[in-house]
């Protein structure tokens, strides 16, 4: 122990390498990316995977097919604004949409815990049916497994999806160029705080409902408008901050965001204030960012605003050169700060 007069406070360094998987490895932040690189990319590396996009795009007999999969483990199964079923459909539909693809079909795999009420399962499946209908995509194949009581959390769902890419654009981080406008499709943070409020039984005045929604309609509308879409990314775990960092890193560019242009609903802001969360890192399930050339920005915003799910779309920032991989935020007071990727999960602060 050093002497009392040697005053040198420094925050202890969080661990960067763990030999066991933590919950934080699933948080969408830096720890998750380390796990992906160390375990999965190391084992599976190939050109389609290495693109690092939400869906792989494959040439199949002359057609460009987008292919993606995602698993859903949310607790509770039902929450204001959605359920594990709506997430399972919309999440995969949105991953296809982010490749600029029209969803063609989904698969659904269920891992069910012994003891789950059949009525609950029926409600989950009904919500999937309704979500699939809204997104205009059939669920064409599936699988069911049951595990011992205590070895699942009610039900886990995996969905995979294929979509058709019907345009010549290369929608991927590598297409992003300095000067591109960054368009955000609406207010952020609703899904994460809706789940948080229910899971932790936090008594807020009114229920915050998830923003869970299919995004294929606005995206396909955007592409049909002729706007030169460079990249799309839906904001899920890790929030807006992680999505922008992933794209800045993947494209080797900088991104500057005007914090005042990023909308956060009043009740979501209040909940974040109470818990010490930054809405920039809170999960969404019905929001995305689009990167388009400056010349197309106004038209793109106008097209997106025609769709209810993206009726509040607006330009929130710009792609810059030089600052490779760096996301900067102009604060409301006019200063600039770095918006880094989260290390693991956001944890409620002491004070």
């Amino acid at each position: 122990m050093s002497q009392p007069n040697d005053f040198s406070p420094s925050c202890p360094v969080p661990l960067a390498q763990y030999e066991q998987v933590l919950l934080a490895h699933g948080g969408g932040g830096r720890l998750m990316h380390q796990l992906l690189e160390r375990v999965f990319l190391a084992a599976f590396s190939n050109p389609a995977l290495d693109t690092g996009h939400d869906a792989a795009v494959l040439d199949v007999g002359g057609a460009r097919i987008a292919f993606t999969t995602d698993s859903y483990v949310v607790h509770p199964l039902f929450f204001p604004g959605g359920s594990i079923g709506t997430l399972a459909v919309n999440g995969t539909v949105n991953d296809l949409a982010m490749a600029g693809a029209r969803p063609i079909a989904l698969s659904a795999g269920f891992i069910i815990e012994e003891g789950l009420a059949v009525e609950t399962l029926e409600r989950v499946v009904a919500s999937m049916r309704d979500a699939a209908r809204e997104a205009g995509v059939p669920i064409v194949t599936g699988d069911t497994k049951v595990v011992d009581r205590g070895k699942g959390d009610g039900v886990f769902i995996n969905t995979a999806g294929i979509g058709l890419v019907e345009h010549g654009l290369r929608v991927a981080p590598a297409s992003v160029r300095p000067g591109d406008a960054v368009i955000l499709s609406g207010d952020i943070g609703r899904h994460g705080m809706a789940i948080m409020a229910v899971r932790e039984n936090l008594p807020f005045e009114s229920a915050i409902e998830s923003d869970c929604a299919p995004l294929c309609a606005p995206v396909l509308g955007l592409i049909a408008s002729g706007a030169e879409v460079h990249c799309l990314r839906d904001l899920t775990r890790g929030g807006l901050a992680s999505a922008l960092n992933e794209i800045a890193g993947g494209a080797g560019v900088g991104i500057t965001v005007d914090e005042r242009a990023v909308a956060v609903r009043e009740d979501v802001r209040g909940a974040c204030e109470i818990l010490g969360f930054d809405p920039m890192y809170v999960a969404n399930e019905g929001r995305f960012v689009a990167f388009v050339p400056e010349a197309d920005a106004a038209r793109a915003v106008e097209v997106l605003r025609r769709h209810p799910v993206s009726s509040a779309a607006g330009v929130i920032g710009w792609v810059t050169e030089g600052a490779s991989g760096l996301v900067a935020v102009r604060t409301p007071l006019g200063a600039t700060r770095v918006l880094d990727m989260l290390s693991g999960e956001q944890l409620p602060r002491i004070c």
């Binding site: 005053f7 763990y18 600052a323 700060r337 602060r349």
Partner: protein, 370 residues
């Protein structure tokens, strides 16, 4: 958002910044005491907007940073016991002990739970009479009343399976430790508003007088902080060293008397080790004899987990005091990068080393030389 947006107004901030620019005639160094203030300063970029020569140093008021290694190790040891439910505020879970953090204990099967109030931990104890529930009671004077209340209620309700691992610290002795440091550059303080909401601010009067430093009790919103800086600089320019209260909408001179009385009943002032600083006499709180039955360090045998030496990591401490610049560190940019940090200042996106590292890269990309 009412009562928040008013204190983030950019026009009012610009006005205050103008007043600060008009006031300053020479360089000054001010320390904001509380980690919450540091957070707001970096989030809004307030340090960047101040006139050149006005330096903000980040103070010791972050419970995560100052809780000693030994206590983290003891928390890890307790949380690893199969008979224990270990409850903590969320951000303590990531603080590394000698070998691991509480997140790792959780991954290995330990029952570690995040709570939002110590009373939640007490409720868990009442609901699980066959298990031992330990709450990690850390923080400054701000969290002390809530933690005292949990222990007080446990005694009243005779909940015997509830204990607390106490590592409470106090602000005034830390300010004196800062001021007594040989390399101290601090000329004025922004005192922690929420600590003073509990304690009032009379205990700062002798410190301001003895060391001739202005101390301004300051809030946490951007306008609070700018106003606190303005008041502090005004005192410095005029050669005054008084205790002033910027945060009067929350803080009164005498503070919250019932909260103080509860803290005084449950806790007593003890010597306390601070991470990165060492032991400071009479700088912490421990349970009084009449509540000793709720002390986890007495209930459980933790004798195997003694004081540990701090790892010699990097020059973060010197960087934080402004005594050295990041590029002067041998490891900077080589062995130490944001992806493989050796010290805290390279970890946080807003840390001095990480910021330097990134801005240097920006400068290089634009072809300019710094």
């Amino acid at each position: 958002m009412k009562f928040v947006d008013e204190y983030r107004d950019s026009a009012a901030a610009e006005k205050l910044l103008g007043a600060i620019r008009g006031l300053v005639t020479r360089p000054w160094t001010i320390m904001e005491v509380c980690g919450g203030q540091t957070h707001a300063i970096l989030k809004y970029g307030i340090d960047e907007l101040l006139p050149a020569g006005v330096t903000l140093l980040h103070g010791p008021g972050c419970p995560v940073c100052v809780t000693p290694l030994e206590k983290i190790d003891r928390a890890v040891a307790l949380a690893s016991r199969p008979d224990v439910i270990f409850c903590s505020f969320g951000d303590m879970l990531r603080v590394p002990g000698t070998d691991r953090d509480l997140l790792s204990v959780k991954a290995a099967g330990g029952d570690v739970r995040i709570v939002y109030s110590p009373l939640d931990a007490l409720r868990i104890a009442a609901e699980n009479p066959a298990r031992q529930v330990v709450f990690f009671a850390v923080g400054f004077e701000t969290t002390a009343p809530g933690n005292a209340m949990a222990v007080y209620q446990a005694k009243r309700a005779d909940i015997r399976n509830f204990t607390v691992l106490v590592s409470h610290v106090l602000v005034p002795p830390a300010l004196e430790a800062v001021l007594g440091s040989p390399g101290c550059r601090v000329q004025g303080f922004l005192a922690a508003g929420h600590v003073c909401a509990v304690m009032g601010y009379t205990e700062y009067l002798p410190i301001a007088a003895r060391y001739h430093v202005p101390i301004v009790v300051t809030g946490f919103e951007p306008l609070d902080i700018l106003q606190g800086i303005h008041l502090c600089l005004k005192q410095l320019e005029q050669g005054r060293a008084e205790v002033e209260n910027q945060y009067s909408r929350v803080v009164s001179e005498q503070g919250n008397r019932p909260a103080q009385a509860l803290v005084a009943e449950v806790f007593q002032v003890v010597n306390r080790a601070w991470r990165g600083i060492g032991e400071i006499p009479r700088s912490g709180l421990g349970l009084t004899e009449s509540f000793a039955a709720f002390d986890a360090e007495r209930r459980f045998d933790l004798s195997a987990v003694g004081p540990r030496p701090e790892p010699a990591e990097c020059i973060a401490g010197l960087v934080l005091q402004g005594l050295q610049k990041p590029p002067e560190c041998e490891a900077f940019g080589g062995r130490c990068t944001p992806e493989h940090p050796l010290g805290a200042t390279m970890v946080s996106p807003e840390g001095a080393c990480a910021a330097y590292y990134r801005h240097r890269r920006i400068a290089a990309g634009q072809g300019s030389v710094r």
